[in-house]
Assembly symmetry: C2
């Protein structure tokens, strides 16, 4: 696999209870080293437009033809605005890998979902769908889900694009931008 493979990393901005929207940042990088492009969009907090917003970001960028994989920080943007990664792959033909530091705890998610959403079952099904793989890194392990790409290829992409710590650069950089432009100074980890 090429070290310079073009990856799209996506993360959302931190938000407060009074916000209606969360900014979504996409970054196009060559492997883990070179930033080529910054994209911006937004999702409604706890809404249901995150999948659409990701698809539009992919379809509309002038880098579309070079992109090989999308990397997403977690499985949702803007709270419980869940991303359907199967839908993204089938609509755009761009494979997707979601990355989290912690193993998803579905029991912890079920109660707030039931409490706050009429369509909680639909959201929970989407969150639970797909296999979770534990990936060992030189740092802590990470947990990933894949759509349109097999686990061995996904591992290689994560290896190529991770410089320090456990999180691939396209996600880490998208996080720093989303956090920095919202708070004035970036903080926290992707």
């Amino acid at each position: 696999m090429k070290q310079q493979i073009r990856l799209l990393g996506i993360d959302d901005s931190p938000f407060t209870f009074t916000d209606k929207y969360s900014t979504v940042i996409g970054v196009v990088m060559r492997g883990g080293n070179y930033l080529e492009c910054v994209l911006k969009s937004q999702v409604s907090i706890d809404g249901d437009d995150a999948t659409f917003v990701c698809k539009e970001m992919i379809k509309n960028t002038r880098h579309r033809k070079q992109l090989k994989v999308m990397l997403l920080d977690g499985i949702a943007l803007g709270g419980f605005n869940v991303v359907d990664i199967e839908d993204i792959f089938s609509s755009t033909h761009l494979p997707v890998i979601t990355v989290t530091r912690d193993k998803p705890d579905f029991n912890k998610i079920e109660d707030p979902l039931k409490k706050n959403f009429i369509d909680w079952e639909k959201r929970l099904t989407l969150i639970k769908s797909g296999e979770i793989h534990k990936i060992e890194t030189s740092h802590n392990p990470i947990y990933i889900k894949c759509s349109g790409i097999d686990i061995e290829e996904a591992k290689e992409i994560i290896k190529i694009s991770t410089i320090r710590g456990a999180i691939p650069e396209p996600i880490r950089v998208a996080h720093l931008i989303a956090s920095g432009i919202t708070r004035g100074e970036s903080y926290g980890k992707a």
Copy 2:
């Protein structure tokens, strides 16, 4: 000089005639490779607060102690909001290097300044102050001004922090972010 030297790159966002403010993005990078932090502020277009905004960005970031040099895209932010790099160095003790692709043409600047600003002489003096050095790169030459740092050290910093083309990464990355978050997709060159 350390390859991992901490650099602050600053650039402003594109704006239109109806905008009052331009977003200013600062990025903290280790050399030309690793993004550590994203900062955001704003300047008034054609105002006189750019020097103050740069100084506040430097003073307020939690990375202040690690920063070794500030790199600025040009000599102004938000139109003709001129940055006083001598003032920045004397106030913050952080050396400053300004970088432009083209040799500044003062004759071209004088007329619009005279036409639009009562204090045009002050702005022009600031723009003209300091020596301009032509720096050869592996790509096209660039033109720089320095404050608080000698030309040989400045050349080394530019060499360390430039990956592709002629523009140091902290400025190139700040430009991509400022442009991307304003337009939805970054474009153009720093």
